[in-house]
């Protein structure tokens, strides 16, 4: 067994990016994700990489665009209001089909909100916060170990599909220290014949998101993107079903709120109540088929979020008999409580 170390979520993510071969990081400070740039600023120069604190979030995401266009593995990170500022760049990146990893360590909103952990950016992450017909992959870690493991996966998925992969964590996951076994490189290699690497001996490549002529060229791109999104939806749904096979009461959650749900499930099971947890690992694509299976025997489906109800829309779209779906959430940086989840589940039985 590999050695366990105690590591903070934000730093585990940074180290995993370096293990994944990320050699460029651009960002602008904001709590509660600051340990990501702080870590990258220490580590990247030692592995021959480039860390640059940009003058703004907008500048940082466009530096990501540039490094990615040149074929590099590149990452940026921020927290909710800063991610809002990056949306223009993310839309351009989608249009130019550039691979990159973007990290959102969510905090309470709207606006500057506060600096505590939140899950208020689900809509922004899964519905496209920028303009145009596009999607981005969204991974939702729930532990420090997953902050690292999903970062390696994020870089591979980004390169495989030439797409932005968003790692959607929250302030608690960023700040928590837990046991971590450092992941090993996946060893996957991706050719990037489209990259701007100098055109000597070949036709020049072009990376752009503007397509004016001919007038059908943008729709052609949209259709290509659509095929890609369909392929991702078919192949890349990820989730965890915990004690769901016989579950009469199903909790659905992701990230930090899923940890609290898992405890509630364990305690309910000890009392003989058949509860289970369905946990998202990808928020887009949404693992609808797996949720249908997990919810097959459920009398009630309780969606638990650190928001006032966003993922619940995808849950309702996915399950049969959506009138079974109920909601419990806390917002503004507050956490759902195990006892309240248990109280609600027990109330369904009466």
């Amino acid at each position: 067994m590999s050695e366990k170390i105690l590591m903070k979520g934000n730093e585990a993510l940074g180290e995993a990016a370096i293990i994944a071969g990320c050699r460029f990081y651009f960002g602008y400070p904001i709590t509660p994700q600051n340990e990501v740039p702080a870590y990258m600023s220490r580590r990247l120069p030692r592995v021959g990489g480039t860390f640059l604190q940009a003058e703004s979030e907008l500048a940082a995401i466009n530096m990501v665009y540039g490094a990615s266009a040149a074929g590099a593995r590149v990452m940026t990170s921020s927290s909710s209001p800063g991610i809002s500022l990056k949306q223009e760049g993310l839309s351009y990146i989608a249009g130019a089909e550039l691979p990159c990893v973007v990290v959102n360590i969510m905090r309470g909103g709207p606006g500057l909100g506060n600096i505590a952990g939140s899950q208020g950016d689900y809509f922004q992450s899964t519905r496209g916060g920028g303009n145009g017909d596009y999607r981005q992959l969204v991974l939702t870690p729930a532990t420090v170990q997953e902050m690292a493991d999903l970062t390696l996966l994020a870089f591979d998925l980004a390169d495989e599909y030439r797409i932005a992969v968003l790692i959607l964590g929250d302030g608690y996951l960023g700040q928590i220290s837990e046991a971590l076994t450092l992941p090993k490189p996946t060893g996957k290699v991706f050719e990037k014949p489209w990259a701007l690497t100098g055109a000597k001996g070949r036709k020049p490549n072009k990376v752009a998101s503007l397509r004016l002529v001919p007038e059908t060229s943008l729709e052609e791109l949209n259709l290509v993107l659509n095929e890609k999104y369909k392929k991702i939806s078919a192949k890349e749904c990820r989730s965890e079903s915990y004690l769901t096979e016989d579950a009469e009461y199903l909790l659905v959650a992701y990230g930090t709120s899923s940890r609290i749900c898992r405890e509630a499930v364990n305690e309910l099971r000890e009392e003989g109540i058949k509860a289970g947890l369905f946990r998202l690992i990808t928020a887009w694509p949404f693992p609808a088929e797996a949720l249908q299976i997990a919810s097959a025997k459920a009398k009630k489906i309780l969606t638990v979020e650190m928001s006032l109800g966003q993922m619940i829309e995808d849950v309702k779209l996915s399950v049969k008999d959506p009138e079974r779906v109920d909601f419990y959430g806390r917002s503004g940086g507050m956490l759902p409580e195990t006892d309240e989840i248990k109280r609600r589940i027990k109330a369904y039985g009466n």
Binding site: A116, I176, E178, R259, T338
Partner: protein
């Protein structure tokens, strides 16, 4: 075993480090651990604290609204956290700096002259070791003293490891 612990004090008293020391020691005994610093607006005004959970089971929430154990290094931290300790819980307070006595009678309260013990070993900066040494003596199921001492080499930065002899002396002195 499941303990939810708050370590609180002034910035600079090493409370974040003390919490990490407990985590690494318990982690190396294959327990589940989590550590989260207070990083919000509550840090303004000079108190720093961290929430530590050490358990035989997977940890759900890393926050500790009602600690089973509170370790307080200064008076503002006593005032803030004494009322939050779970009934039947444990409060360890630094009686070198805290003049007042805890008021609760439904919890165990233990005063330790952390600064004095540390200074007697040549440095006031190891006061955090004194409270951890005391905690280990009272709650040995969290981690053995040996694991705590071994964890020093992980938690203390290379630059400060030369002080570990002092740290170990203070840990042992308070471990009664």
């Amino acid at each position: 075993m499941h303990e939810e612990i708050i370590v609180a004090g002034f910035g600079g008293q090493g409370v974040i480090m003390a919490g990490k020391l407990l985590c690494v020691a318990a982690m190396n005994e294959d327990k589940y651990v989590s550590h989260i610093p207070s990083y919000g607006a509550e840090m303004r005004g000079g108190t720093a604290n961290c929430s530590v959970v050490i358990s035989d089971k997977e940890i759900s929430s890393p926050t500790v609204p009602k600690p089973s154990i509170a370790i307080v290094m200064n008076t503002p931290s006593l005032v803030k956290f004494e009322p939050r300790v779970k009934s039947g819980g444990l409060l360890i307070y630094n009686s070198s700096l805290i003049d007042q006595k805890p008021k609760r009678t439904d919890i165990t309260t233990v005063g330790i002259k952390a600064n004095d013990i540390s200074e007697a070993e040549g440095s006031v900066r190891a006061a955090n070791m004194a409270v951890i040494g005391k905690l280990q003596a009272l709650k040995p199921e969290i981690a053995s003293l040996d694991s705590v001492i071994k964890a020093l080499d992980v938690v203390i930065s290379a630059r400060n490891r030369k002080h570990n002899d002092t740290n170990i002396k203070v840990l042992k002195k308070a471990n009664l």
